[in-house]
């Protein structure tokens, strides 16, 4: 019974923790401009993140070490250094977007200027990282993030023409009013949002924090196979809400406040309050994860003592890295840069950095020296190879598409 409850908690946390500011903004923008015609990218992204997160979770459970530690050992300091540089930069950009997301959500609830919320948000994230236990932090943020299910409830209450939504999704093609290059630009952005690198670093390091062993592989599989796809459904619900209410009105999403209008239309103030709370929790949870990932990647590469299972005094440089990352994120946001623009940039640059994250994981997951009998099977390897091709294509296409479309405008 206890095991069942733990598994259920893991799945719920994975669902609630799946959606972050990148998913929220990108799905709503896409829904308002392209309807459901990019739903296939969400499916593609979810399968990819399931594949690689379960791989990195397995590596951590079997070897007892986080992915980045092994990447450095297996690929050498130079290749791992390039990986670290790109991952850390993307992570910082994502952390900036998440802290900005918290400030925007609080602005929405209070009408108080977001710039006043930024230091509060950064301080709150740091306090939780400093004081709260890993499991408590992960479970509370994940479960609160589940409130985003309000988008799915809103979709049903809006009573959309389901056939029309399906027609938009299948066969996938850009709407006549949009340029194909913009369609593909957003396809890459959506893919980058679903497969953000920090998710994998957090997942594998989290497995070490929770002291997973080979016995926990079943839990790992269950969390990933159920939690992430259900989280993907939330992403689709966000896009569908925008497609039902905003697209017919000719509204292009450019701010977080527009994303909640379909929810208010469907469920009034109560559902709106639930969803706003869900957005605060989802962005807060993602800010915790990205801040931790900053510390994890750098500490694991440099061989520092790391982890929340250690007291801060025993992992001082790990905690210092997170503090510096948070200060940088808050500093960037205090320059009045638009957090939504930062989010859009972060998902596109995530796509650029995808191969640097996922190639080493595939290499390590195939190394019997680390994995023993738990190396990748044929099916996983075949899928992994297909995904590497997709990831490389997305990475190569991201910047040219960004230039050609003026960042999707």
């Amino acid at each position: 019974m206890k095991k069942l409850l733990a598994a259920a908690l893991g799945i719920l946390t994975a669902i609630g923790g799946f959606v972050d500011i990148g998913d929220l903004v990108t799905n709503a923008v896409v829904g308002s401009r392209f309807g459901m015609s990019l739903a296939w990218v969400v499916v593609l992204g979810v399968v990819g993140i399931v594949l690689f997160a379960s791989m990195s979770g397995r590596v951590a459970a079997v070897s007892g070490r986080a992915t980045f530690e092994i990447i450095r050992e297996r690929l050498g300091p130079r290749a791992a250094g390039a990986n670290l540089l790109a991952s850390f930069a993307i992570n910082l950009l994502t952390l900036t977007a998440e802290v900005g997301g918290i400030a925007l959500a609080l602005h929405l609830a209070s009408s108080v200027e977001p710039r006043l919320w930024i230091p509060v948000a950064a301080l709150a994230v740091w306090l939780v990282l400093w004081r709260v236990k890993f499991q408590v932090m992960e479970n509370v943020a994940g479960l609160m993030g589940l409130l985003l299910v309000g988008f799915a409830i809103a979709l049903f209450q809006l009573g959309p023409d389901w056939g029309e939504l399906l027609r938009q999704a299948v066969p996938p093609s850009p709407p006549g009013t949009e340029h194909p290059a913009s369609y593909w630009y957003y396809a890459v952005a959506l893919f980058g949002a679903a497969m953000t690198p920090y998710e994998v670093f957090f997942f594998s390091s989290g497995a070490v924090e929770e002291r997973w062993t080979a016995k926990d592989l079943g839990t790992n599989r269950l969390n990933v196979l159920l939690g992430f796809p259900l989280g993907g459904l939330l992403s689709l619900a966000i896009a569908a809400c925008a497609a039902v209410v905003l697209l017919p009105a000719g509204i292009e999403v450019s701010s977080l406040s527009q994303i909640v209008l379909p929810v208010a239309q469907a469920g009034g103030v109560l559902l709106l309050a639930v969803v706003v709370l869900g957005i605060v929790a989802a962005t807060f949870g993602a800010a915790l994860e990205t801040a931790l990932s900053s510390g994890y990647t750098l500490a694991q590469y440099l061989g520092w003592s790391w982890g929340k299972f250690r007291r801060p005094a025993r992992a001082a440089r790990f905690h210092l890295t997170m503090i510096v990352a948070l200060l940088l994120a808050a500093g960037i946001l205090m320059t009045s840069v638009d957090p939504v623009a930062v989010t859009e940039m972060s998902v596109v640059f995530s796509a650029v950095a995808l191969p640097l994250t996922y190639v080493p994981i595939l290499v390590v997951a195939n190394d019997p020296g680390y994995m023993g009998e738990h190396v990748n099977g044929r099916v996983v390897n075949a899928l992994g190879t297909v995904y590497l091709v997709i990831v490389v294509v997305a990475a190569v296409a991201a910047i040219p598409l960004m230039i050609a479309t003026g960042a999707g405008s």
């Binding site: 602005h107 929405l108 609830a109 209070s110 009408s111 009013t177 209410v245 009105a249 000719g250 509204i251 292009e252 450019s254 701010s255 406040s257 527009q258 909640v260 209008l261 208010a264 239309q265 009034g268 103030v269 709106l272 706003v276 623009a341 940039m345 640059f349 910047i399 960004m402 230039i403 003026g406 960042a407 405008s409």
Partner: protein, 182 residues
């Protein structure tokens, strides 16, 4: 001699490594600049007649989107489906969008008289939507308990406000159609 040759080899390797580093640094700089240009060049002035008209259409589409968003927000607040702070935030965000649209039109250099006329019509239309959204914020402030008695431009009811928004949106649609938009 061998030591000298070795040093020369070493220097060659060092130079090669240095050049490689320089090339890599140059490449990184170019990629960063290109990315920055792509990010910031969304609202650029356009000189060719076709491009200038497209820029007018883009700005009007943004203004139309902002006006429609404001209309939904006002309607929802009137029905009690959103709170005052949420409605105010929605409207404030739309004023920023309208500011961008207006900026795109004012910085545009029209290449011919026809484009200049379209830009002028577009500026009027964007201005109308901005006025309506500003009025909507005042209305929201009144509904939320603000004391704006006697202030100019505060609509007496949501109906008046929705009519003002609809009129402004009609003007935007007409200007957009003139600029070749959908």
């Amino acid at each position: 001699m061998r030591a000298f040759a070795g040093r020369a080899d070493h220097q060659g390797v060092t130079q090669q490594t240095g050049r490689r580093r320089l090339t890599a640094a140059g490449l990184a700089l170019v990629v960063t600049l290109v990315a920055l240009l792509a990010g910031t060049g969304c609202v650029a002035s356009r000189q060719e007649p076709g491009q200038a008209t497209a820029a007018v259409a883009d700005a009007l589409a943004e203004a139309g989107s902002a006006g429609e968003t404001a209309r939904i927000a006002v309607g929802l607040l009137d029905e009690g489906r959103v709170t005052g702070p949420v409605a105010d935030t929605v409207l404030l965000d739309q004023l920023r969008v309208l500011d961008d649209a207006e900026s795109a039109l004012t910085t545009l250099v029209p290449p011919d008289a026809a484009t200049a006329a379209r830009r002028s019509t577009g500026l009027d239309a964007v201005g109308d939507v901005s006025d309506a959204v500003v009025a909507a914020r005042s209305w929201v402030a009144v509904r939320s308990g603000g004391d704006l008695a006697g202030a100019d431009g505060v609509p007496s009811s949501s109906d008046d406000l929705l009519v003002e928004l609809a009129t402004a949106l009609d003007a935007t649609d007409a200007a957009l159609a003139e600029a070749g938009g959908p």
